[in-house]
Subunit: 277 residues, 4 copies
């Protein structure tokens, strides 16, 4: 599987988000605590600037994140209020930039940890369900990209939770028609640059981990001497595959089968249920 | 566009095929005489061993061919009776290994110079025409790979000329339905390891160049002092986008709108016509 | 050889510097007009931010500049008053990031088109002349990097023209002791982030081309309808291996055997002469 | 640190050496049991053919070994009686091909797990001790490459154990002059294509692991049902950083501070002691 990290809050230097935490996403590319221990099959970051209506930029590479010299250089020069970072452990598809996350469509970013089971078997049916106008944009071979385009087909840019529910519903439906027992396994993050939506769901109801950081003020009161927390504004929110640092009280698990809307400092959690097409 | 070279004949060291000629395929990656001058968007070689029923091996990379140190090393250690080599100039799709030629399916190899016009527009219809059992094998985003899988769908492994005619016919048909004036431009080589089939055709009837080498004995009589020719057995046949060396009398152009079967030292040319599906 | 471009002036988006000109440095990576036509053996950009006393950032890669998707993304997000860009054609050393220009030492950047003749023969003597405190910083195998460290040894950060004159003098001296007729060929640019120094010199007195852009106002008066010029502030100065666009009156050649100091909108040219050690 | 594997014996397909063992060198690139767990900072293989006086070929890449598609292809086509394989975990120098092992000089190969402490500090003195005629061949920045060239300087091609003892002696001497407490940590393998010499030594006398496989017949008697052993001829000998499979009785540790000569099926171990220059 993979590991990912999403940040929203006051503009900060990307280098601080990617490299400074004790158990940063970069550390997790080399040695994660949970899931697939090494995530060295490529990485990617996507980030927004501080202007309005900006298309996010991407820096993605098939190289491991931990040894990419350019990433450090670039990240030191990015100041961003919203960043997605992903380190990949391939579930079989080629190791190349077009298969790295996050994926982008207009102002939207999408990243994923998990897989669509037996993707080779269901791929054609899923790709055929993608809106023909969107289909040409698919350039890689990952299940993640196809799931993204299904969500876009079902109206991600209008109503993300509904769109994702329908996309997952379709994948489960197609999967079962092909005899796949547990078609979907996902923790997903998607954003339009202002709001972030995260999802934790698997057909087997035993999903890879997902955590969000608690309210920044709350965490500061718990750890008044931890200087690094001074860097973080009141609206800070991280959503992560695994905590960036072992700080009891700083992280809350996103429940199984749920989705959350994250904006400003707020974080609203709801049950997630696929909707059958 | 791209440049390619196919060799069939007595087993020779791949290094001699790739690096020795005055205007080798490697020289053409940096500076070709015709077509797209620099072909530095990746390369690939596919080759067969001397045993029977062997699957060909591939060495492909997104790096330019002219500066790949591993290619020289590997090529010095390959002895082969049949080799395909291709240097790429992308027509827009990503620069990655899954988009490098030659493509392989079982014992078959396929490479291409040219393009399917407005591929983004016709891609979905073409992909949908691929046999569902073959569809999952498509992992890149090139028009070449899709054309290969259409040819496989139409029976390439049974009757290559017919299969390619039907594939091209389909692409032209789909193209015209989408308002594409000249849907196909191709010089293609494909092989099962024993026989090679080459094609030169474009909807506009103005196709990129394609040459085959004349009978080795014939060339030797023309150039008795050219030592390098001593290396080549009587069954030697090259098919190339552009001549490996300017030797009048050594090369014959494959006519516009034709295909040729190359096996042993023989080389039979026939008219090529797409067949409408 | 290689091609390079240096920009100093009002802060602009790097993408505009790298990709917009008709004959941009990116176009030159694929097809330059002068020198070595294809410069696809890696590239690099180094840039300063708008703050004071900042260390420049680098983005360098062994891939060709023309097909690097990350470069476009990153360059769109860089706003800089001083940028170096270089596209490489290797003179024999490996194609890897540590051999890409520009090179960096503290706040200084350095890039080069040319070569130190018979570098293999003189390399040891030159490396031994590098200040032992600086020696460990050398991590690649290019002549350019060694020349940079010789210049640093001779006081580049204090007095660039004198330091470069001494470095070149040493290389010529060592070269002649080893029977090298014309030891040095260079166009070089170096900067501390505020001032830029450029050099054009070769032992043979037949150096690769180097141009600087004329005063921006002057060029605007010549081409009042050329909108792109409106983007450029009054202090704009480009120094380039070859003009970014064929605009008579917009470019002046840096004379053979000279150096220039470029700062603000000013551009002072002086004769360059190696000083024997 | 790194992991390596050396094989000598009857010619076998490289793919079987690299990919088939339960805990193969490729598995170790992703997850080793000992030392540095992930060794994803590049890899390399060097191998000899079956002819006499052949220069070994190299396939090296800065990418992780576990996800390199070309490696599988190439390895399936290599039949070799002697192969070196190395997966790298960088101790700080750049991740690029020129820093991957094995290193080659003429017919000789060299690979290393370990490091020369404070290399930055001692690098200049060590490089200056390299024979000036050999110095130009050094193209990377690793301590391993410098140690190799010191060994060559001290007569590796004539008398490997003596040469390595002198090289290590020099490094310890230089190290101590610079205040480095434990200058050398190494397990090294070197070969001329017929004989292999391996070394296990560290200044601290606490060296990374090194094992050799026991006599093939002996292992077959212990495990008569283990089919994979049938592939291995009587002269088979592996020397490895860690066992390729947990088979009690199949592996013997190379003692601390010793060297061994491996040829034919023989394996002679001797004490190793640096000789002060």
């Amino acid at each position: 599987m993979c590991r990912w990290m999403a940040y929203t809050g006051s503009p900060v230097i990307a280098n601080d988000l990617l490299f400074r935490p004790e158990h940063s996403i970069i550390v997790q590319s080399l040695r994660a605590n949970l899931g697939h221990v090494t995530n060295g099959d490529g990485f990617g970051i996507g980030w927004y600037g501080t202007g309005a209506d900006e298309t996010p930029a991407l820096y993605k590479s098939a190289h491991p994140a931990w040894n990419d010299e350019n990433l450090r250089e670039i990240a030191s020069n990015i100041r961003t209020p919203l960043l997605f970072a992903h380190v990949r452990a391939s579930t079989g598809t080629p190791i190349e930039r077009s298969n790295c996350h996050p994926f982008r469509h207009g102002r939207w970013l999408w990243m994923h940890n998990g897989s669509l089971a037996n993707f080779e078997v269901v791929k054609r049916d899923l790709r055929m369900a993608v809106d023909p106008a969107l289909y040409p944009e698919i350039i890689g071979s990952t299940d993640t990209e196809t799931l993204f385009y299904l969500a876009l087909t079902f109206g991600l840019t209008e109503d993300p939770p509904t769109a994702v529910a329908r996309a997952v519903g379709l994948v489960e439906d197609v999967g079962r028609r092909h005899g796949v027992e547990y078609p979907v396994h996902m923790t997903v993050a998607t954003t339009d640059g202002e709001t972030m939506w995260v999802f934790r769901y698997s057909s087997e109801k035993a999903t890879s981990s997902l955590y969000y950081s608690n309210d920044a003020e709350q965490v500061r009161r718990l750890y008044p001497d931890l200087e690094v927390l001074d860097q973080l504004g009141p609206d800070t929110r991280f959503v992560v595959s695994e905590p960036l640092r072992d700080l009891p009280g700083a992280w809350t698990e996103v429940p199984e089968a749920s989705w959350a809307l994250v904006r400003g400092g707020e974080n609203h959690i709801h049950p997630f249920q696929p909707s059958s097409p």
